[in-house]
Symmetry: C2
Subunit: 133 residues, 2 copies
């Protein structure tokens, strides 16, 4: 269970891409700025997302990246699994293996929500903040 900045970055980037689903490619620089990710780092990261099929790219001028699937069809687990799987290896022979298996499963369940849901929650939360300020 190693949840790194790469996961945070990756999720933020995917959400940004989510807002532009089916609106044509957006370029890396824009995503990096919006999601507050170091440009050169996102370069690496987004290649992982591409390899996994979550994201597709268009090269050349007016190119950029876009989601390959609807935000409804993408779970946070899929995203993290593309970046770096979370679950740790479990020695089935160990007396506590059952506990760690449960733990893994629990985290997995929590992260089984869709990108779309997270986007909506995020928007909702932003609204609340606006009103509250």
């Amino acid at each position: 269970m190693n949840l790194t900045k790469k996961h945070h970055y990756g999720l933020a980037a995917m959400i940004e891409l989510g807002w532009f689903y089916e609106k044509g490619p957006i370029h890396l620089r824009f995503i990096a700025e919006q999601a507050r990710i170091p440009h050169a780092f996102l370069e690496q990261l987004i290649l992982d997302l591409k390899k996994s099929g979550l994201v597709k790219s268009t090269r050349g001028a007016k190119g950029g990246y876009q989601l390959n699937l609807s935000p409804h069809g993408v779970s946070i687990n899929q995203i993290f699994s593309a970046i770096d799987p979370l679950g740790f290896e479990i020695d089935e022979d160990h007396p506590l293996s059952f506990f760690w298996t449960d733990f893994n499963q629990h985290v997995y369940d929590f992260l089984s929500l869709s990108l779309q849901t997270l986007m909506e929650d995020s928007k909702q939360r932003a609204k609340v903040l606006t009103y509250t300020i």
Copy 2:
């Protein structure tokens, strides 16, 4: 969120200590063997558990370690917090901070069970295994 071997080791060690609660000190070598932890590594680890007050020690011959509190009164969270706190830092200013806060809380809740409970589950599980073999 960085869940390392140290956490696994620490939990295993605490359970071992749990079985001998109020039965006098047991020495490090024994714990290390039972819980399958490298002896010299456990030496370091158990000092952390001591500093946190979860474990107390008796020096000299016939010395050893024992739980300071009843297994009922110790949560897995307390143990992990003594070893190395799990929750990661959250930039409250980030649009996704709410999500990561939820995540942290969720994991925290899962780990709020008592050492006693885990010991019982573990025993139960071992029994089942015995019958199943």
